[in-house]
């Protein structure tokens, strides 16, 4: 009964940093709360009308006192601002070597896709000690990916990607909550983050990383099939930039646009280019774009697969095509329905 925690479990490298600011805020606030409460009570009793007191007001140096009352809180406030902003800045910059996981939210479940092809529902298995970067989107309304033990939260929006990173520090199971109200079963859109020792994680991944889920094929190989099925290779030919920009070496590079702007080819850029080819025309290509929109032909899951495939192409392109992408031309089999695909994925 009196085991009364004031802090949630500390499960990530951010947790102790956030808790330190929180404790400092309570100490500072507590000081002012007690100060104000004490002064109110003491003044009210000491200067109660029944008390004989000297009530003659001295000539106050009001301006000086006000300057102190304004300046003091301002300095304290700015100090806390910088501290909290510095930690926040750190939480917004995923390290380059973070392992990547994709999250697709929908009413009312979390679908997780690992690059190795493992898929999970309302669960995310991770190795302890590795930085993880989540790239997230929603199929319907706004959701929010919240892990209290990690002190991280990020809204998951329809129509774009948002990212979140953290580094689990303790093996264990942690709550995953949806924090943005999303309709009827909002409070049941919950799951668990399972942080495992590296060996347990390897075991979970399955032999050869094929996954415990019996589903062969990485995200990028599935993406290769999407690429072929949508006939992307008609224009995005491996060695030619004649009809369409080369995809080899594309991911993560700087792209010069017809508008004169330069953008970085990240997940969001590829997503937008597939769904709305006219949004950003690469310099040297005609406007409007020759490419049709694939908006109604591709799901969020397939987009992620495609992005992983383009990442693979990019990596392959950079090392001189040593790693051959899976041969296009394979007919894409109809995707299993979410229900049977996901049920079979339950550990």
């Amino acid at each position: 009964m009196w085991d009364f925690p004031l802090f949630p479990k500390q499960g990530s490298s951010f947790a102790s940093q956030v808790d330190a600011i929180y404790a400092a805020l309570w100490l500072t606030s507590g000081f002012f709360m007690v100060l104000i409460a004490t002064l109110l009570v003491v003044f009210a009793i000491r200067f109660h009308h029944s008390q004989k007191r000297d009530r003659k007001l001295a000539e106050h140096k009001t301006a000086l006192l006000e300057a102190v009352l304004i300046g003091g809180p301002t300095l304290i406030a700015l100090g806390i601002f910088f501290w909290a902003a510095a930690v926040f800045f750190h939480t917004q910059q995923a390290p380059d070597d973070a392992m990547e996981v994709y999250v697709v939210a929908k009413q009312w479940m979390w679908k997780v896709q690992h690059p190795g092809g493992q898929r999970e529902i309302n669960a995310l298995h991770l190795p302890v000690g590795r930085a993880v970067k989540l790239t997230m989107t929603s199929q319907d309304v706004i959701h929010s990916f919240y892990v209290p033990a990690f002190r991280v939260k990020q809204d998951v929006l329809p129509g774009r990607y948002t990212t979140l990173w953290f580094q689990p520090t303790e093996v264990g199971e942690y709550h995953l909550f949806c924090a943005e109200y999303c309709g009827l079963e909002h409070s049941r859109m919950i799951g668990k983050i399972v942080v495992m020792s590296p060996s347990d994680y390897e075991a979970w991944l399955g032999p050869g990383g094929a996954g415990p889920l019996g589903e062969a094929g990485t995200l990028s190989s599935a993406g290769g099939q999407v690429f072929a099925h949508l006939a992307c290779n008609n224009c995005h030919v491996a060695d030619s930039a004649l009809r369409a920009p080369r995809l080899q070496g594309l991911f993560g590079s700087q792209v010069k646009l017809a508008s004169g702007q330069t953008v970085i080819a990240d997940e969001g850029y590829i997503r937008e280019s597939v769904l709305d080819p006219n949004a950003k025309i690469v310099a040297g290509y005609p406007s409007p774009s020759l490419m049709p929109t694939f908006k109604s032909q591709i799901s969020e899951d397939q987009l992620i697969e495609l992005i992983e495939y383009i990442k693979l192409l990019s990596a392959a392109g950079m090392v001189g095509d040593e790693r051959q992408p899976p041969a296009p031309g394979v007919e894409l089999t109809p995707a299993p329905t979410p229900a049977n695909r996901e049920e079979s994925n339950q550990p």
Binding site: L25, R55, P73
Partner: protein, 556 residues
């Protein structure tokens, strides 16, 4: 103008100016319109309170077992929308502000009496639409109407409730225009800007927000309704739903551009009330008058620049978040100035414990906690963790209930003898003020803890480790609920049986205490001439502020 010299009791006071329903529904007297508002918002307060009761009962157990998830979602939306749009925003301005601003500046009425009446009709029309929305099964979007849930996915009476809020918004624009025009043009001779009671300054700042902010939320709700109306037709209009080319975060920017300043619409008038009460019952001028007045304006201006602190995890640019964070810290400074100055006002005062003073001191305490926990939320790394948890729920209830409602009740108890000409029982007043203070803290303080532990808001069912704190919260809510029933009961009683009081039962300064209680229809027989600053009290003079003086003083 000839004046009657025969001292008739209750000579043509505003209450007896007409007793027919028509005389009330067509009145252009600011005092009667204030009472129309008072009755209306009290009804809405009990509607919103009933929803809160059911919410707290449901949350006693982790499982969703008292009401269904569907009903729960509709209850918290009902509670939020009704309490904010139909109780808190109009609470002090439309009742006490409406009643007192002309009296305080020595005017016969507001600048536009008919606009004032129109504002009440807009408010009631909005209220009726909200009631229709409730009767049609309610709304399940939360009071924030976030898109694309509200505009595309929700199958509830969203359009009705949004249109209700829209009309209520117009009533608040009308009130704001009226106050600004009145304060600029109708001050009595000698009532210079820096002789204005701080209550009037607070309402001036509030009115600026109403006039500048409300149109933005009006157009935002309208755009949401437009997108929703055409969502199943061939001519879809994509504004906020990305599936049809819109941007869901745009809605949040527009919504909070108004709805953050709206928090100051709720709290600034309470701050004005507290300045009046503290000064009266410590028999001292408010310490640092110009700073307190200026801080109201500073809050109104800075309040328009901090909306993005509701969006730190929304996908907004990290650099934008940093700017919004630092501005949010700065908006705390003028609030801190007020708290320090109220506290300093008591020093070397002549303090009398009365019901209004207890509410005012309770306000300062709870507002201090609410304001300081606002700094937690302005801190970027902390907000990422506690955003959309019960920490936020606790924080804004400390501001809106601990602050705004305590101020409203304090003001109601302070000016009740002026409004009705009768006094309520002091013992019951003090008893319920204490009860409300205790019940409030027990309800909402545990929510700070459960929020930091990670309990998200708007959860129908929750994880079992959060139960103890939720049970504490529900226990507190039952005390708080009882606490609200007492003033409702004894104030009603005092309307008929309370001892009659004279013009100035508290021995207070301020022009409103120079006219009779209740005031005559045109407030003053002759336009008063102001010759002294506000709060010209002298704590060295022994006098009585207990409010029990039957007959009271008639002049100062």
């Amino acid at each position: 103008m000839t004046t009657l010299n025969i001292p008739l009791p209750r000579r043509h006071d505003y209450l007896s100016a007409g007793s027919t329903i028509k005389s009330w529904l067509l009145t252009v007297d600011h005092k009667r319109i204030a009472l129309l508002y008072l009755v209306s918002i009290t009804l809405f307060f009990f509607v919103g309170g009933a929803a809160a009761t059911l919410i707290r009962v449901e949350l006693m157990t982790p499982r969703g077992d008292v009401v269904s998830a569907e009903a729960y979602n509709r209850l918290f939306t009902l509670h939020g929308a009704v309490m904010i749009f139909f109780f808190l925003i109009p609470s002090i301005p439309a009742t006490l502000g409406n009643f007192l601003i002309p009296l305080m500046i020595g005017a016969r009425d507001l600048a536009f009496p008919k606009l004032n009446l129109a504002s009440w009709y807009f408010f009631m029309a909005g209220g009726i639409l909200a009631v229709v929305a409730i009767l049609k099964g309610g709304v399940d979007t939360g009071w924030t109407f976030y898109t694309p849930y509200s505009s595309t996915y929700s199958n509830s009476a969203v359009t009705w409730m949004a249109c209700g809020a829209l009309l209520a918004g117009f009533s608040s624009i009308f009130t704001g225009i009226n106050f600004i025009a009145t304060i600029h043009t109708m001050r009595a001779p000698g009532m210079s800007w820096f002789r204005l009671p701080l209550f009037v300054w607070a309402h001036y700042a509030t009115s600026l927000i109403m006039v500048l902010g409300t149109p933005v939320v009006a157009i935002t709700l309208l755009l949401m309704v437009v997108e929703r109306t055409f969502r199943n037709t061939s001519m879809q209009i994509g504004i906020f739903d990305p599936a049809i080319g819109g941007d869901p975060v745009l809605f949040q920017h527009l919504f909070w551009f108004y709805s953050h300043p709206a928090v100051y619409i709720m709290i600034l008038p309470s701050m004005g009330v507290v300045s009046e009460i503290i000064s009266c019952f410590s028999r001292k001028p408010v310490f640092g008058y110009t700073f307190v007045a200026g801080s109201s304006l500073a809050i109104a201006v800075l309040g328009f620049l901090v909306w993005g602190h509701h969006m730190f995890v929304s996908g907004q640019s990290m650099y934008a978040s940093m700017v919004f964070s630092v501005l949010s810290f700065l908006v705390a400074v003028p609030s801190a100035i007020k708290v320090f100055n109220w506290t300093a006002t008591l020093y070397k005062g002549r303090v009398t414990f009365t019901t209004p003073l207890l509410y005012a001191i309770g306000f300062i305490g709870l507002f201090t906690i609410g304001g300081l926990t606002g700094l937690f939320l302005a801190s970027l790394a902390i907000d990422v963790h506690v955003h959309d948890t019960y920490f936020v729920v606790a924080h804004f209830h400390y501001i809106m209930v601990g602050g705004a409602v305590m101020g409203y009740l304090g003001g109601l108890h302070f000016w009740w003898p002026k409004i009705t000409g009768r006094m309520y029982p002091k013992t019951w007043g003090i008893f319920s003020a204490v009860l409300i203070f205790v019940g409030f803290n027990l309800t909402f303080f545990p929510q700070f803890i459960v929020g930091y532990l990670g309990m998200p808001r708007r959860y129908h069912a929750y994880s079992p480790e959060f139960q103890v704190l939720n049970v504490m919260s529900t226990a507190g809510a039952s005390i708080l609920g009882a606490g609200y029933l007492f003033p409702f009961t004894y104030l009603l009683w005092s309307l008929f049986r309370g001892p009659k009081v004279g013009a100035n039962p508290w021995g207070a300064k301020g022009l409103e205490w120079q006219t009779e209680s209740p005031p005559t229809t045109h407030n003053f027989d002759e336009t008063p001439i102001v010759t002294e600053p506000a709060y010209n009290y002298d704590p060295e003079i022994e006098d009585d502020a207990s409010g029990v003086v039957a007959g009271g003083r008639t002049s100062l």
